[in-house]
Symmetry: C2
């Protein structure tokens, strides 16, 4: 038996007990006549003590030789500490060691195993197994486990059944790019790894499972942006005999449960806004509503003067920055430079200081008088002491630019508090999205999303105007879930494929099984999928997902620890009936 | 709102309430003046009634037209049934329908949606979404969910953390065949899908996670035997600072918990036998101990006469078949034919009837007298009225043959009761297994399994004799889990790879990351993995796994419902830098 308790367990009440502990040598403090060793395991740190009065000399010498991260087992007596450490749960005691066994030596680790490590991102990824020993990473993984357990418990209690859907499925090349898996037994053919279990969960609804969920890996072979992973985890859910309202209620319940269980937060009813309103008020379909700074559209109060920049703009829109009137010229110039960065892309920025004395000072005083500016302040909700930032141009681009500025300023002002949680539903998404490059329409959510009742006909005439029963759940400015009511009628599904540019043959080859299934009594159904990696990160008060994943890949899709992907044997290629074509 | 209750919920206490139900038309009984419709959903069946006294005539007519599996919504009043049905929970009531809406029509299903369907295996697989509507399949999937929830709950309560390990890993071609995934971003290189998360869970132990589990899909590209799937699910577990005893206790606890929660069975301490003993007593390393019929080795009491068949045999071994003395000559001939089938491969069978009068009648009376046969009866534990079946030859083959006969007879005698559960540990497995064809040794469990302390040196001289700290958990004659204490020392791991025929370069290329990790303070660790598909099937009292998997593949690895694998676009191949080589 390697231990009878852990390094996080001993308290003052254990003083006098004989214990056996195993763990890693976290730190050695050698004062000559006394040696303290911090022994670490998953559960905590316990201080071991060796001293010349009470410890045999050979044991004391052995303790002095212990290197960091060596794995040891000790037996000893729990004693009271002379100088207690109130910062750790085991701070009242230490263990006077009687026996010490070295279980495994360690060579010098490439970075320190501390909360604040000296290791950079790359070296920590290569030695991820050492990085996981650090509390920040270890705690994130344990936190992820806790969240997924709560998700499963809640959904199961609500009658949802977790069903495993297959990983070796069929490629559907119209969406994002699939990862493919050559079949050895079916020469020249390929499986694909699922981008999501979408069609399978719909078939489970056709199969009468009624309420389905699954926490499941999904795969997308896309060029990786920062903080995207080729394999990621979804909480995938579907319900039959539901309308949008039923789904919003069910998963608002789940999210409320998580916020309550994990953070003790009572979040009440989640606000709902339409996609159109979100774009108008925040320039963004996933607005962070932990703070205000809502958009004020200024066309009506800014296009009546000789300022051509505004007069020629499709949209003039501003936000009020709390306390911004005190910004120096230099600070404001920095903001202007920021919005003009290529990543944001604004041509310039107009500003108005709302002075403490009730007057306004703007960068366009030449064109606008105090009455004009007072109306801008009114429209943007600016108060005395605020700064109004105004952008103009094409509607979509200007909204995106001002949204970026809004988030940047909020970050800067400390308004994006990681321990505050502001969920909201964004509903009534457009069914289709115009691809500006090709001039064709894509499904905004996916091809199985149902148009709003009565809007099917609009597909012919004004496809961009058709709204869907599609919704996103947004938390702190991040989309954490999205879903829709699905099509459950074969003819409507065929019409949808047609409008998305599928020939009937392509639709049949790729999704014939689903349309066939719809002929046999498919119930009305809908669902949602949450991105677990992001959900966990946000619930954990962080924005990057990588440290909530045990073994993440880098931006080239590589696992630098195991060095994958890798070359394979010629024999393996041959068995798969493949040749490299480099 | 599609419903305010389900088809399984209404009871006598609901009589008088107005309800809205949605579901599938399971059955229509049209008596002219009255029509009964069985409405079905996941939760049960509720009888709807339409009659000429209480139902408007157009509604009655509409009900008469309803086809099987049509999806409908109804509103009506819960009333008392005239003739109650005690066989279903809703049998006291029916719903007098006031409104009927057809939500989706169904064409005629290709087989009946009944517990005993008229559909064959192939058609049910093609229309799996209809098969899932049938209670036997639906209930199995719900049962699987219940088992996995209990597994997670138990392990989580014991401090195990579920950690997701990656699916896109590196190929290790020495074991079973990997499924490969070509990388687009890393030209000419491949990921592999995991055969198990073995190395990652060991790295989690190096990383200090202490107690890990995961319910996870694994993949093996093997020629499929009956009841094998290319993708299958494991309950994968690992613990640090443990000896074999700790692991057996932990997972005996899990299994006991499942038997208790699911079947109300108190299973007490699980018996343990060594691999050698299992082979000697049952001819099998996964013995079914729900019944006796243990092997009696007869060499000492059968090789002293002139019967050359036995005298030249390495092993003479028999079992006592309860009540078998009454078998007719024809029945015994059938048994002899059975053991001579090529799948079993025995050359013949000797038998002894233990007559009611205390005498023996054997097929070898020419060679053996009553005293001899009495000793055989004693050795095999045969009682008056039993039949002793004796096989002989090479030890391994004869044991396998007699084990097959033992299982066949037990099946025939009804001794393999599906509602009886007899778990047992088989321990002390050999470390290596001789490949008779190549004369080389393979790892019996896997290359990371630790030899028993002090036996490392035997590897050089008697590799076949080295025992491992490896164990299987057997339930009702099936291996449901297997594991081992792992190697945690770099040098021992290198020695093991050498004995398994790896060059140092191969070992480094494939498992260098693991051996590197062992240098940084790897704790002693070990684990186990359960085959979830089989575990669920056996707990469900069945032996085939296919109906506990929502969307299984056939024996050619095909999903016949979605028709995968399939051809892919040339453009996809080109992006992956591949050409077909057919």
């Amino acid at each position: 038996m390697y231990r009878n308790t852990t390094c996080g367990a001993l308290r003052a009440s254990d003083i006098g007990t004989e214990v056996t502990l195993s763990g890693w040598v976290h730190k050695v403090r050698d004062k000559g006549f006394v040696v303290w060793v911090d022994l670490r395991d998953r559960y905590g740190i316990t201080q071991l003590v060796f001293d010349q009065d009470r410890t045999p000399v050979d044991l004391l010498d052995k303790a002095k030789e212990l290197g960091r991260e060596t794995v040891i087992q000790i037996k000893g007596e729990t004693i009271e500490r002379a100088s207690k450490n109130p910062n750790i749960p085991t701070g009242d005691i230490e263990v006077l060691v009687q026996e010490l066994q070295i279980l495994n030596e360690s060579i010098l680790p490439p970075f320190t195993i501390e909360d604040e490590t000296d290791g950079g991102e790359d070296i920590r990824m290569k030695y991820r197994y050492l990085d996981i020993r650090r509390n920040p990473v270890k705690d994130n993984l344990i936190f992820r486990h806790k969240v997924t357990m709560e998700v499963r418990k809640f959904l199961s209690d609500q009658g949802f059944i977790e069903v495993e859907t297959p990983y070796l499925i069929k490629s559907t090349p119209e969406g994002a790019r699939d990862f493919l898996v050559p079949s050895r037994m079916n020469e020249g053919q390929f499986y694909a790894l699922p981008q999501s279990p979408q069609t399978f969960k719909q078939l489970l609804m056709v199969g009468g499972m009624d309420k389905y969920f699954q926490i499941v890996k999904c795969f997308r072979d896309e060029d990786l942006r920062a903080d995207r992973q080729p394999e990621f985890t979804q909480i995938d859910c579907e319900m039959a005999f539901v309308e949008q309202e039923d789904i919003l209620n069910a998963f608002e319940g789940l999210t409320r449960h998580l916020l309550k269980e994990i953070h003790g937060v009572d979040s009440g009813d989640f606000p709902r806004i339409t996609f159109d309103e979100a774009m108008r008020r925040y320039g963004n379909d996933k607005p962070d509503i932990r703070f205000g700074m809502e958009f004020g559209e200024l066309n009506a109060v800014s296009q009546h003067k000789d300022f051509n920049v505004f007069n020629s703009a499709e949209l003039v829109v501003g936000i009020a920055v709390p306390g911004g009137a005190s910004y120096t010229r230099k600070e404001i110039d920095k903001l202007i430079d920021w919005v003009k960065r290529p990543q944001v892309g604004a041509k310039g920025m107009v500003y108005v200081k709302c002075n403490e004395d009730g007057t306004y000072k703007s960068s366009v005083d030449k064109f606008y008088d105090q009455d004009d500016l007072a109306k801008w302040a009114e429209t943007t909700g600016a108060k005395t002491g605020d700064l109004i930032c105004v952008l103009s141009g094409n509607t979509n681009e200007t909204r995106a630019q001002l949204s970026a500025l809004r988030m940047e300023l909020a970050e800067h002002l400390g308004l994006r508090k990681p321990d505050e949680f502001a969920p909201l539903w964004v509903i009534d998404f457009p069914l289709l999205e115009l691809d500006e490059e090709t001039g064709t329409y894509h499904a905004m959510h996916h091809p199985f999303t149902s148009p709003k009742p009565g809007q099917l006909e609009l597909l012919e005439t004004q496809p961009g105007e058709v709204k869907a029963n599609a919704y996103d759940l947004v938390l702190n400015g991040n989309e954490i879930g999205g879903g829709s009511i699905r099509i459950h009628d074969k003819e409507i599904q065929a019409t949808m494929f047609k409008h998305l540019g599928f020939t009937p043959e392509e639709a049949k080859a790729q999704f014939g099984f689903l349309m066939d299934a719809f002929q046999y009594g498919a119930p009305p159904h809908g669902g949602i999928a949450f991105g677990l990696d992001r959900l966990v990160a946000i619930l954990g008060g962080q924005e990057t997902i990588r440290d909530f994943i045990a073994f993440p890949k880098n931006n080239s899709g590589r696992d630098v620890m195991i060095d994958a992907p890798a070359d394979i044997d010629d024999a393996q290629l041959k068995e798969l009936h493949l040749k490299l074509d480099l």
